[in-house]
């Protein structure tokens, strides 16, 4: 299986270099980046509202444009109140570096912070993003 993917990657690299990661790039998509990763995400449905359940569609690419290995996890909490959600989001792997996390619900208005935890063999990293929920 691993060999098989390797072969595909090799073939692709000679033509359009890793075009599959980095396709979540609508103007309304949110961007996060670090030295090692580029992360794009969007809320489904669009826009955050108190006490409404939603999902997060996201994509994680490595700096060389390839898809992240493994499955990152996502959580959210209210930094000012010192508490998180009452629900745990479940991340489903969609392929090409894309994932869908379902089961979010922000139960208070105020500042919420998403935490994306990326765990790869070569190390782990956390990317965060703040949102005001009204």
């Amino acid at each position: 299986m691993r060999i098989f993917t390797g072969v595909i990657l090799l073939t692709l690299s000679t033509t359009s270099a890793f075009a599959d990661c980095g396709t979540l790039n609508a103007p309304t998509d949110q961007q996060l980046s670090s030295k090692a990763y580029q992360l794009q995400y969007r809320m489904e449905p669009d826009g955050l509202a108190v006490s409404q359940d939603f999902s997060v569609l996201f994509e994680v690419c490595k700096s060389d444009g390839t898809a992240v290995e493994g499955t990152p996890s996502v959580d959210a909490y209210m930094p000012m109140h010192g508490h998180g959600m009452n629900y745990r989001a479940q991340v489903e792997k969609l392929g090409d570096g894309k994932f869908r996390a379902t089961g979010f619900m922000f139960h208070m208005p105020g500042k919420w912070q998403f935490k994306f935890d990326i765990n790869e063999p070569q190390g782990s990293e956390q990317l965060t993003a703040d949102h005001m929920v009204k």
Partner: protein, 406 residues
């Protein structure tokens, strides 16, 4: 102008100002943040909501069946009590007691049943995820109606009106259904009836709409004390954080420092116990009795997580009609709204969870502020849009007769 006439005029003007003030003709200035939160407490009434997990939600025959079951003491094992024994229409759909009275003293306060179609969780610990599941609990609870599925099904089968309404609603006589199914169907009818208990527009709702529309002539009908109380509610008091939205609840759970020990060493686990119940009950939305074929309604149940902080957390009550539903809190320990506001005002932070929410701190409200907040809470009352019909003789059920959609 001569002296005496001037004096009369001055008197007249003073008299008028006096009158105007008595009517409270003043609209306080609300800043953008305050207006936004005030807006979020409406609009009211909300659009009717039918429960996808209950196929007879909104069905007029089911509502009529639910109404008869609600008042039927024979649903209990020994004919001793009905839903209406504890959720009394005249006393805010509660019982006015600190904690409920079943076969013995119960440990929790009997909540009202207003606007429950819009709730996410039911019971003080949220041990049920639908109104129909919550309606099964008291029927089976040993200290309450203490019935069995067999008893419920037999009662419906033997009582001609219930039996006729059941067949009309579910398309088959109750005898043709299994006992579990019969019990769940009875509960779904009870839920359909309770969904009709929607409260009307309050003086707060009129004020909110007028304020947003910039209609100061209507807005000034709302007493200025209530306006000051509202300012505290959305501002310094931070009450809107949990008592959020048109229902004045975010539908979730919190710890506001009400002790959850009752009796000798007995602890009410609150939300912790509620989640444990959800994980084991066959009557959850993730179980076989939900009528929702999609993932949607069960999502909350599948994703909710058991956390240490859930110990001693209780459901944030809706504050619509709160003035009609004393006493307060999960254990009924606070007798009046004044006592509730004073509790928040002097809250004992040591009683709150250590890793809990850094939201509640003593507000040290003045006597006037306390009165203002109470005046605001009292402005959230309105009678049911559709009064409860307690007349059981007016019922009709025949194959040709259809109950009217309310």
């Amino acid at each position: 102008m001569s002296g005496p006439r001037q004096a009369v005029l001055v008197l007249l003007v003073c008299g008028m100002i006096g009158q105007v003030e008595a009517a409270g003709a003043e609209v306080l200035a609300f800043d953008e943040a305050e207006r936004q939160l005030i807006e979020s407490h409406g609009p009211w009434p909300p659009a009717p909501r039918h429960d996808p997990s209950n196929r007879v939600s909104g069905n007029p025959d089911a509502i009529e069946l639910g109404r008869h079951l609600y008042f039927d003491a024979e649903l209990s094992i020994d004919g001793s009590m009905s839903c209406a024994t504890c959720h009394i229409p005249k006393t805010g759909l509660g019982d006015g007691l600190a904690t409920g009275k079943g076969r013995e003293q119960l440990s929790r306060n009997t909540p009202h049943l207003f606007n429950l179609a819009y709730s996410r969780w039911y019971g003080w610990g949220g041990g049920a995820d639908s109104l129909w599941a919550q309606s099964i609990r008291p029927i089976m609870a040993p200290l309450e109606m203490a019935a069995t599925p067999t008893h419920v099904v037999t009662r419906i089968k033997d009582q001609p009106l219930l039996s006729c309404l059941y067949q009309k609603t579910f398309g088959s006589p109750v005898a043709g259904h299994g006992e579990q199914e019969g019990l769940v169907n009875a509960a779904k009818s009870l839920a359909a009836f309770q969904e009709t208990m929607v409260t009307g527009r309050t003086s707060f709702d009129a004020f909110r709409d007028a304020l947003l529309a910039g209609d100061s002539n209507s807005a000034d009908q709302y007493p200025v004390e209530a306006q000051r109380g509202l300012k505290l509610f959305v501002g310094k008091g931070q009450c809107s954080l949990c008592h959020f939205g048109p229902q004045f609840t975010n539908g979730e759970f919190g710890d506001v420092g009400i002790p959850h020990f009752h009796g000798k060493g007995v602890v009410d686990k609150g939300r912790y116990g509620g989640i444990q119940n959800l994980q084991k009950t066959p009557y959850s939305l993730a179980g076989p009795f939900s009528d929702d074929g999609t993932e949607k309604t069960a999502r909350k149940t599948r994703h909710v997580t058991l956390q240490d902080r859930n110990w001693g957390e209780f459901k944030t009550p809706s504050l619509r009609n709160v003035a009609e539903t004393a006493p307060y809190m999960h254990n009924g320990s606070l007798p009046t709204l004044d006592a509730v506001v004073r509790h928040y005002s002097e809250i004992d932070e040591a009683r709150l969870h250590v890793d809990g929410e850094k939201i509640l701190k003593p507000l040290h409200l003045s006597v006037q502020e306390t009165g203002d907040l109470v005046a605001f809470l009292k402005s959230l009352s309105a009678p049911l849009v559709q009064p409860i019909n307690e007349d059981m003789t007016a019922a009709e059920c025949s194959p040709g007769h259809t109950n009217q959609r309310p």
